[in-house]
């Protein structure tokens, strides 16, 4: 299983702050996204959304190799002001 964490407005869109998903779509990000509702998957791939794997920020465009028990966080732009 993989734990997905949705921050900011992505939490509203997902309807939950965290979600456990099986890794049966392969150990790739695109495999995981394919198993999610289309609008959520699209938002998670937005150009300004950053990713953190197990609490470590990933470089833009990284294609993480996911392992059972990993936590993958989706971080939209912060609010400022």
């Amino acid at each position: 299983m993989l734990k997905l964490v949705f921050l900011g407005r992505l939490e509203d869109l997902a309807g939950v702050g965290e979600m456990l998903v099986p890794l049966d779509g392969g150990q790739t990000l695109s495999g995981v996204l394919a198993g999610l509702p289309g609008d959520l998957a699209a938002a998670l791939q937005g150009p300004k959304v950053k990713l953190a794997q197990n609490g470590a920020l990933l470089p833009p465009g990284a294609e993480p190799v996911l392992a059972d028990g990993d936590e993958l966080a989706f971080l939209p732009p912060v609010s400022g002001g």
């Binding site: 939490e11 971080l75 609010s79 400022g80 002001g81």
Partner: protein, 148 residues
């Protein structure tokens, strides 16, 4: 002294600055800043969410960076999370140094980076409805001032 904390309950800035100032009797200059939830505009509450694995480590890195850039004796950096009401402090930053320029600039630097380069998401409640606060272009302009 580096005092960096993420707070889940209301805090009193004056109760924080007093021990911080006393901890640095050798200082010549203390600059500080407090940002509060602005009353007015119909905002009933503000909610700050964050991502624990990144937020506090990011604040600590920011305080370290300020101490690396300026000759500071200490940095205080406090930030609220959770549900806040109008008038409550959200953030407090203070810097102590021998001379005023370093204390001012470091405080300004930390605030600019907290606003645009840290891991907080804010939404506000107006008329019973929650709405997310969007990024502001002004904050990114503020951040660019420090990229020499």
């Amino acid at each position: 002294m580096r005092n960096v904390r993420l707070l889940t309950a209301p805090f009193d800035p004056n109760a924080e600055i007093d021990p911080f100032a006393r901890a640095h009797p050798e200082a010549g200059a203390i600059a500080s800043f407090v940002g509060k939830v602005r009353p007015g505009g119909g905002v009933e509450a503000l909610e700050l969410s964050h991502y624990p694995p990144l937020t506090l480590p990011g604040m600590e890195t920011l305080a370290d960076e300020a101490m690396r850039r300026w000759p500071l004796m200490g940095v205080l950096l406090l930030h609220r999370t959770g549900l806040l009401y109008p008038g409550e402090p959200i953030v407090m930053v203070a810097a102590v140094s021998s001379h005023r320029r370093a204390a001012f600039e470091a405080t300004d630097f930390v605030m600019d980076h907290l606003k645009s380069d840290s891991w907080f998401w804010k939404r506000e409640q107006v008329g019973g409805q929650w709405r997310w606060i969007e990024p502001r272009g002004e904050d990114h302009a503020d951040l660019k001032r420090w990229q020499a």
